[in-house]
């Protein structure tokens, strides 16, 4: 974000003037959820529980959108067949 607006041109009142998707919050992550598709039953619970809508349905499988996944681990915790493991990023 090299060209940031100054106070004269920013919209008033601190309202959000860009979409939140402009902020790739995936880089906040320390642990990364990895899905074992051999175990996954496509029950969609992880999709339901992810607070960041970072689990998406690609038509055939649940996949993690790592641009926005913050690595909270809720999906791994909720998965009934333990198909998701949290692995260190670094």
């Amino acid at each position: 974000m090299s060209q940031q607006a100054g106070w004269r041109s920013l919209p008033k009142a601190g309202v959000a003037f860009r979409l939140s998707t402009d902020y790739k919050t995936g880089d906040w992550r320390a642990l990364k959820p990895v899905i074992d598709y051999n175990k996954c039953t496509k029950c969609m619970l992880c999709w339901l529980f992810c607070p960041d809508m970072a689990i998406v349905w690609d038509g055939e499988n649940v996949v993690v959108n790592y641009d926005y996944c913050k690595g909270c681990g809720i999906c791994a915790n909720e998965c009934p067949v333990k198909a998701i493991s949290m692995v260190p990023e670094f």
């Binding site: 009142a13 601190g14 860009r18």
Partner: protein, 419 residues
């Protein structure tokens, strides 16, 4: 109050004379101002405003949504929500109630919400006291609100209506606190002139009009308000990349306030025949005055009556009534005080460990003058202590004596306290 020279659009015979107290006057002003939402919690001496207004609601005299909240924190929060949704919102409080609101006061101003609040000035605890001083107003001086002070019941009525116009002006978009002294105004009956409803409606241009904003994700300007069809989000997390810019934007908005307050004061004059100096300050006999007093609120009237009397004796004394405390009119204050030999700032508040908050502002205003008047600070009226005219007279005569000697010590003085 200056009497009309030109014929006002709504001359006195078209206005309605009512004998009301300050709180009732504010309630009537709000009733006439097409306010969408009133959220308030009663506290002495503001109570009559809330009581009277809820009567209007119960009797079906207004369409306003009245929210009887459980605390002042909630009152201001409800006003923030209402104003963010585009409503004209009003609340009123005093003292401890205002203290409880403080967190949300800063949010209201930063979100640029043109809320109007009557602050019926009362001392802060402890010791517990229900009577008047300005410590509650001073408590919110850095919160980003415009602060106006009324001298009498008529001015409380006039200023409340004007406040909506000032707050909602496109150049401003900031909340306004209308201050009136507890009991001295809130519970004092005075006869005042009220405008017919439709004149007030016209003055305000009807219901609140929401301004527009341009954001990246809509291809046209959208209303700066919560709206499911054109969603905006208010009160976002704003870190070191933008917070500073947003704060500067809010601070800079204050710069347009004096101009708008002056315009509204003039417009009011043309409409009603009443104006309050230039809207910002109202000088009395200052041109050739050696001793000039500065003050705000109902006490100014008492001081003026003494100044009037002493002028007849030939004492060169003058008075500056300050109507606007935030934004503080530094230039105007310096200009009006530049020829004084000594300036006495009289105020109903203290800042332990410093001088009174009004004194500090006046001191700053005078700093850039080539030749500065001497400056002293009189704290008076704390906790509702009456401002006795004889005391004011003694104070003025004392200042003339000090002027002969040229020594003004100490700077901070108390008027009417027992040793």
């Amino acid at each position: 109050m200056t009497q009309a020279v030109v014929k006002p659009q709504a001359p006195l015979e078209k206005q309605v004379m009512m004998t009301v107290n300050g709180d009732e006057a504010v309630a009537y002003a709000v009733k006439q101002s097409l306010v969408d939402v009133v959220a308030a919690y009663p506290i002495t001496p503001q109570t009559i405003i809330v009581e009277k207004f809820s009567e209007f609601v119960a009797d079906g005299e207004v369409k306003t949504e009245f929210v009887p909240v459980e605390s002042e924190h909630s009152a201001m929060s409800a006003c923030v929500g209402a104003a963010a949704a585009g409503a004209r919102a009003f609340t009123a409080t005093s003292s401890q109630g205002l203290a409880l609101m403080v967190e949300i006061l800063y949010i209201a101003s930063a979100l640029r919400l043109p809320i109007v609040m009557a602050v019926v000035n009362r001392a802060l605890s402890a010791p517990i006291n229900i009577h008047n001083d300005h410590s509650d107003a001073y408590l919110m001086r850095d919160s980003g609100w415009i602060q106006l002070f009324a001298e009498n019941v008529q001015e409380a009525y006039d200023t409340t209506i004007q406040a909506f116009k000032i707050a909602e002006d496109e150049r401003v978009l900031l909340p306004v606190a209308v201050n009136l002294d507890g009991f001295f105004l809130s519970h004092t009956l005075e006869n005042i002139y009220m405008l017919p409803d439709e004149v007030v409606h016209e003055f305000l241009g009807g219901y609140r009009k929401v301004s527009k904003v341009r954001v990246d994700y809509f291809d046209e300007e959208v209303p700066l308000a919560l709206n499911p069809a054109r969603p905006l989000s208010f009160g976002n997390l704003d870190l070191y990349d933008y917070y500073f810019e947003h704060k500067v934007q809010q601070v800079e908005a204050m710069k347009s306030v004096p101009e708008v307050v002056r315009e509204v004061n003039e417009e009011w004059f043309k409409l009603t025949g009443r104006r309050y100096g230039d809207g910002i300050l109202d000088p009395f006999e200052v041109e050739d005055a050696d001793v000039v007093l500065v003050g705000m609120g109902s006490g100014v009237g008492t001081v003026r009556s003494v100044v009037r009397r002493l002028r007849k004796e030939g004492l060169k004394v003058g008075l500056v009534k300050l109507r606007m405390f935030r934004p503080f009119p530094f230039k105007e204050v310096a200009e009006v005080l530049k020829n004084a030999k000594v300036v006495a700032v009289m105020e109903k508040g203290v800042s332990p460990g410093s001088y009174g908050p009004l004194f500090l502002e006046v001191n700053t205003a005078l700093y850039d003058l080539k030749s500065r008047p001497a400056l002293v600070n009189y704290v008076y009226g704390l906790g509702g202590r009456d401002l006795v005219p004889d005391l004011v007279e003694g104070m003025i005569r004392g200042l003339f004596k000090e002027l002969e000697k040229g020594v003004f010590e100490p700077k901070l003085r108390y008027l009417g306290v027992r040793e």
